[in-house]
């Protein structure tokens, strides 16, 4: 019987996915309706939040007499899809790396008489689902809000479904090709190569931003219209005719106007290029995957040498934790710093945000009205808060789950399990404070905001850092997933999603109590903060402190209880 060459195509893999999904759903049902309802409610909350923000944004543009079906909004859509493509290249490649080169499943499949490109395709579909989950949850509400704002034809809403299937194909496949290429050609230096790619992207981004700022330097433009044209001209690359992200935006705008032929033409081009790039990546996988896996295992054993790194001293400055927790903190910090996959995305966001804040002062040298400055300052606080929330969910929430694999070590130390959570919380707090306080200070100084608001914002950032860190670390222990070893998959699972939603609610509540009253009062009183305003701001500040206290204590308490009950 042996010796036959099996050729059952992708059928076994598709059946495998369907069966796994069926059993996972059955298990979910078996665990009670609370879990099902909470998952649906969490996803619904994120989607409704994104929808409300997008709808408010489109209504704002409408009030500024900006034609929503026109070229400017079209350019914004192109920019949006271009940015999403970039993120999908990055996240698709990273998730796929774990699935292809660091999973027992791939080793099992590669020992079977199955062509390598089919194993690749199977893992590609899985990683695509993980990496585009956030895309679906955020982009769908935005596009629905756009459709409703422009009163789009039904064609638009019908075409959204195939768009969401085909759009991620091309960027995720490019990420797959980069991943296969890095492992095939520079397996021993792939982390450095990834870091180099990040640095190159940051440099390109900086050069692009720098040239934009130069064009908008004081005196270079004579009117707001001219400045706007300069800005639009600077982002015009996103509308390049050969970009699939542009075809997506263009096709959807045609669909919104009910123009069937051009809509289908653009979307068909996007879908066919996506499919073609995927086929190319599978063809490359057939040639490079097994060779790459082989070369990856050829790494020298004594290659890594411990060196003194000044950053490793940072955990020593964290107050209020014992020596054992400090050791855990140092271990987490070292793991984090040695893995560019962890900090790469954060660095890109950090640099882009830094330049965005620095551009505020240059772009609007004093002429910008107080209401706008006030609004931008609040928006910047929200942006930083959302980045903290997303980063804690992605990097901190999975940490306790990942310790489950090493429980034989930690579990046998004379360290209470509560110290595991405190260690993760301290690690997160350290990074959050390092990230948020200077950025927010820079933003407020760039906008020339008053001292009392700068203090309020700093207090809010400390509260957010503490609360979001505790929520991620504590809830990571409440809903751990000891089966999974890929942190990105843990982060997008049930507990991760629920934790993200709770973090967002906390963010809204804290900003709403600590900072919003000041912004609203000064928004109406044209910068002058009245004395009676403190009657609103101070209780808000007190409420924010209580909220922060609860966000720090409750999840850690719940996490401790669950972790103490946990059997490994």
């Amino acid at each position: 019987m042996t010796g036959s060459m099996p050729d059952s195509g992708l059928v076994p893999f598709l059946m495998l996915r369907l069966r796994q999904a069926r059993h996972q759903l059955a298990e979910l049902r078996g665990e009670g309706w609370i879990k099902v309802v909470s998952i649906a409610a969490s996803c619904g909350f994120v989607a409704i939040f994104a929808f409300a923000v997008a709808l408010a944004g489109f209504q704002f543009l409408g009030r500024q007499k900006l034609p929503l079906g026109g070229d400017i909004v079209g350019l914004l859509l192109d920019m949006f899809f271009f940015a999403l493509s970039g993120l999908l290249v990055f996240s698709g490649g990273l998730v796929l790396y774990g699935s292809l080169y660091d999973s027992q499943e791939s080793a099992f499949l590669l020992s079977k008489p199955v062509p390598d490109d089919r194993v690749y395709a199977h893992q590609f579909i899985g990683s695509l689902a993980v990496s585009s989950a956030a895309f679906l949850l955020l982009a769908l509400p935005l596009l629905l809000a756009y459709g409703l704002s422009v009163r789009a034809s039904p064609l638009y809403f019908i075409l959204l479904i195939p768009c969401f299937v085909f759009f991620p194909l091309a960027p995720a496949s490019v990420g797959g090709i980069i991943c296969l290429g890095l492992v095939r050609w520079i397996p021993n230096r792939r982390k450095e190569a990834l870091a180099a790619i990040i640095v190159i992207l940051v440099i390109i981004g900086l050069a692009w931003l720098g040239s934009g700022l130069y064009r908008l330097r004081p005196g270079a433009t004579s009117s707001d219209d001219e400045a706007l044209n300069e800005v639009l001209g600077h982002v015009q690359f996103a509308s390049a005719q050969l970009l699939p992200s542009h075809w997506m935006g263009r096709g959807l705008r045609h669909a919104a106007r009910g123009e069937l032929e051009p809509a289908l033409r653009h979307l068909a081009m996007m879908a066919s290029v996506g499919t073609a790039v995927f086929c190319l990546s599978a063809w490359i996988a057939r040639r490079w995957y097994r060779i790459g896996l082989d070369r990856l295992s050829q790494r020298g054993r004594a290659e890594f040498r411990q060196r003194f790194v000044w950053m490793d001293r940072l955990p020593g400055f964290v107050p209020g934790i014992g020596e054992a927790e400090r050791a855990l903190l140092l271990k987490d910090f070292r793991t984090f710093r040695r893995d560019p996959r962890q900090w790469g995305q954060m660095l890109v966001f950090l640099v882009l945000l830094g330049f965005y804040f620095s551009s505020l002062r240059r772009m609007f040298p004093g002429e910008i009205g107080w209401v706008f400055r006030n609004g931008i300052s609040l928006m910047n606080l929200m942006v930083i808060g959302m980045l903290l929330c997303a980063s804690c969910g992605r990097f901190i929430f999975p940490l306790i789950s990942l310790e489950g694999k090493r429980v034989w070590l930690l579990g046998l130390t004379p360290l209470p399990r509560s110290a595991w959570i405190r260690g993760k919380m301290a690690f997160s707090l350290m990074l959050c404070l390092l990230f948020s306080l200077p950025l927010l200070l820079y933003s407020d100084l760039s906008l020339r905001m008053p001292v009392e608001l700068i203090v309020l914002h700093q207090v809010a950032a400390i509260g957010l850092s503490m609360g979001l860190s505790s929520l991620a670390a504590g809830l990571g222990a409440v809903w751990p997933n000891f089966q999974e070893k890929d942190p990105s998959k843990i982060a997008v699972g049930y507990g991760g999603t629920l934790s993200l939603v709770i973090g967002l609610v906390f963010l809204l509540a804290l900003v709403g109590t600590v900072a919003l009253p000041w912004h609203v009062i000064t928004g109406f009183t044209d910068k002058q903060f009245p004395l009676w305003g403190w009657l609103v701001v101070l209780p808000g500040l007190a409420s924010g402190l209580v909220l922060s206290f609860l966000a720090v204590t409750v999840p850690i308490r719940l996490g401790n209880i669950n972790l103490d009950r946990q059997e490994f």
Binding site: T2, D7, G300
Partner: protein
Amino acid sequence: MTQLESEIQVRMDGVSRKYGEHWAVRDLSLELRKGELFAFLGPNGAGKTTTIKMMCGLLRPTAGTITICGHDLVADGLAARANLSYVPDLPFLYEHLTGLEFLQLVAQLHGLAQEKAMERISTVTRQFELEKFRDQITMRYSHGMRQRTVFAAALLHQPKVLVVDEPTVGLDPRSVRQLKDLLRELVAEGTTIFLSSHSLDVVQELADRIGIISGGKLIGCGSIGELSSQASHDGPLEEVFLKLTSEDEPGAGP
């Protein structure tokens, strides 16, 4: 091709494998015949797992060739792997599939026709006594249940070569007995078995030939009697193994 030639199911010819500057396996040449149980012994880090991974096509030799039933593992990997099955030391199962669904998946991956697959699945289900739990999600299986399911899956397509890595780890005495009986039956049916193990009693009881690898080199190969002669020591396998491997250690006496 002579009859002896056609009986060779696994051939390793000058196989070497390098990790960085370190040679994990050096110039390994072996021939395993049809219906032979070859046991592979060696201290930790001697190169056993690397050799197994190369036999399964998960790693490529830095030098030399490996053929399974006449098919080169690098040039003709699909055909070579179609004749082979591998039971790893840490059994892999899809956590969200039932045992039966896992068997069906493996049958599909090996391209078994549906009717044949059904027949083989019921045979191995009976053989490994999986009836009671084959419809349960494998996430809830004990180590023994997992091991039996993995063995059943490995034998579904009746491979000509079976590579087994540490099969007795974590098994109770009854399961170990059943495993030994199974390996004997398979050998009697003509399956070639490459068994890597630290359980010297199992090896002594089952193996037709034993290969001892140390520092990446095959330092001894033959029946227990031949190994005893080589070690100039007439004792149980454990003592022969220790003598041969200690002689090979750097700094060991003449």
